[in-house]
Symmetry: C2
Subunit: 384 residues, 2 copies
């Protein structure tokens, strides 16, 4: 096998260091058991690491000044996960200039590093990578030319219309955009690894921009649209997915054109959108994934109680109309306030005889470390 | 017309501000005649702007502390151009947290903003955008699965094999990678605008990674390959373009498969590579663009004098073999030491009767503001 890393799922935590040694110091430097962060700031009074592994609202890790103004801190290597951090220099957040791995969460930039092992192995680069396309399409519903990302798996041959792939439509959360799932979410790496190991079916993943006023991620500098079609709610704004995006994808890619070959999933706002899209279109999608939905788990975070029967009359009183899914995957972080409402909805679906219902919960709050695991699990359970 | 910005080439300098107002202050805030930078740093002693518009090795612009620790500086709006900057806080470079437009040059991150007008209008987002694909291909020559970017113009229909497009292979410089031309180089925007206005033919642009040890940009975290095929020089290392990339592109995209429909161009290291690729393969490429080549302009920057006749016997003594190009485009920045050698080569080509020779020079040193203009000019002169 022609290998990037020797094999899929191999660790790159150690070797990655060789890429990062810039700005005069090595940071982060990983050894078998520890990680050292370094930063040159001779004039600084206080330097800290704002560290995602210390909690959801990161606590700060103090650094100590050594020779030549090099601040450093060495920590035991945290458990396998993709972590983010920034330095905080006299109260100001800034990137580690020695680490070229940078991620954006909305408007905020952070450094990243990966500790491989356990479930985080599927976040590493794979030797059989799929492609990611930045694709512009016309949304008639919004009258906008908009950008989405499309993942095609390794081996996908655009010229061979005879081999058809199932499609997962994958939606970001509030503050995110079409870029979020491939960067913070590691979608390409997760799919590459799970497809290469036979644990997930080869599939196409379509990642649109679910903010009705954005043509594309704001990094492109395109002003937002000021006059936007009004919707009842943020969760209700994505009828364009079925009206505009699905026909575009089915025209331009080699895909299965029936409900068994279609899934829609999303996190937070995108989870609410997925709920609406799936239950409004039970004859279009046979698979739905709802991760940490604020719509469904709203009560505990100060929203109106979720009432599926009110939104979809018959949901519980005459469920035959809706009870058509192969997979209804529901998941939430154990420290996320939305979990009670999510669990309650799951229970109600089970109580009313819905088939295909899957519940999963993972350590974590309302954050990407939960959603990456949701994605990795969901894609192994669909298109079977 | 369905428009992103109302029309191609429209200015977005003003409206862009609305995207950027983060971190409590507006920065950069553009008015008709000025730009204001702001940064919150109550504990800082000295804050400056490291500003590309002040020169190639940016001078620093001092900021003044106002109320609540908000440092600021207001400057007259510089001439139209895509500019980069960072803040320098007590000697430490850092990004502007209020500006989501960030670019990477090798391992270094910078903020960016665009002043539209004049030639810089083609750097703005266009209402008819083409797609950019991140594509993995197998290089048999290097025994590596590698990533390249492929731009396809608006209207490109992958399913219609009857409409064929010419292809420009576009190579980055030393320190760059497959990401450089689409970010720092604004390739997609330049092509979008020039194609939309009829000034350039619709074409596909292929942007590979010319570093023989890199599978992909280092931002992905893939370790470099330690055992790499040896080449005579950095400029000589890209025979894989014709051996591996060109067949891949011609198999997977709807392209013209003759020399008239192929061009190769690059900047700096990529200019030297383009020189070798084109003159070794005169029956493959009818168009070549060489921007600011250190190989050709070497003498003035301390290298060996460039001797085309030694590299390609017959270049001057029996030119019929090589004098087959429709376009030999040579360009350099006026403050770039490489300009004398580049001009000298151009003169020799003219002296020996080469047809299609074009010389252009632009204000600037060895920098992207020159290369963006080179690209915008070159693509208007090929595939006619």
């Amino acid at each position: 096998m022609v290998a990037l890393l020797g094999a899929c799922l191999s660790a790159y935590g150690q070797e990655m260091n060789s890429l990062m040694f810039r700005a005069g110091v090595k940071s982060p430097e990983m050894s078998k058991d520890s990680i050292t962060f370094r930063f040159v700031a001779p004039k600084a009074v206080k330097v800290e690491v704002s560290a995602s592994w210390l909690g959801y609202n990161p606590a700060k890790l103090p650094m100590t000044e050594g020779k030549n103004g090099v601040w450093s801190v060495r920590i035991p290597k945290p458990a396998p996960e993709l972590y983010t951090y920034t330095f905080v220099v006299d109260g100001i957040n800034m990137l580690d200039p020695s680490n070229v791995m940078v991620q954006r969460d909305g408007s905020r930039y952070m450094n990243a590093f990966l500790v491989t092992g356990d479930y985080a192995d599927v976040y590493a680069e794979c030797s059989k990578p799929g492609n990611v396309e930045h694709v512009w399409y016309y949304s008639a519903e919004n009258d906008m030319t908009r950008r989405m990302y499309v993942y095609t798996p390794a081996g996908y041959d655009r010229n061979n219309r005879n081999v058809k792939y199932p499609v997962l439509y994958l939606l970001h959360g509030g503050g995110g955009d079409e870029d979020a799932w491939t960067t913070l979410g590691r979608t390409a790496q997760i799919l590459d690894n799970l497809i290469a190991s036979g644990k997930a079916k080869p599939m196409i993943v379509v990642m649109p921009n679910g903010n009705p006023n954005q043509y594309a991620a704001q990094t492109l500098g395109i002003p937002v649209k000021t006059e936007v079609k009004k919707y009842a709610s943020n969760f209700d704004n994505y009828s364009s997915l079925v009206a505009d995006i699905l026909p575009f994808v089915e025209k331009n890619y080699n895909v299965i054109k029936n409900r068994k070959g279609r899934a829609v999933a999303g996190l937070s706002m995108g989870g609410g959108q997925s709920f609406f899209i799936a239950f409004r279109n039970v004859n279009v999608f046979a698979n739905v994934g709802i991760f940490s939905s604020g719509l469904i788990g709203s009560a505990a975070i100060g929203g109106a109680p979720f009432d599926a029967e009110a939104l979809f009359p018959g949901m519980y009183t005459a469920p035959a109309k809706y009870n058509k899914f192969d997979v209804i995957y529901l998941a939430c972080g154990e420290e996320d306030g939305r979990i009670d409402g999510m669990k309650d909805f799951c229970q109600k679906l089970n109580d009313h005889g819905y088939k295909g219902v899957i519940w999963e919960q993972y350590p974590g709050a309302h954050e990407w470390k939960v959603w990456r695991r949701n994605l990795a699990s969901f894609v192994q359970q669909i298109f079977k």
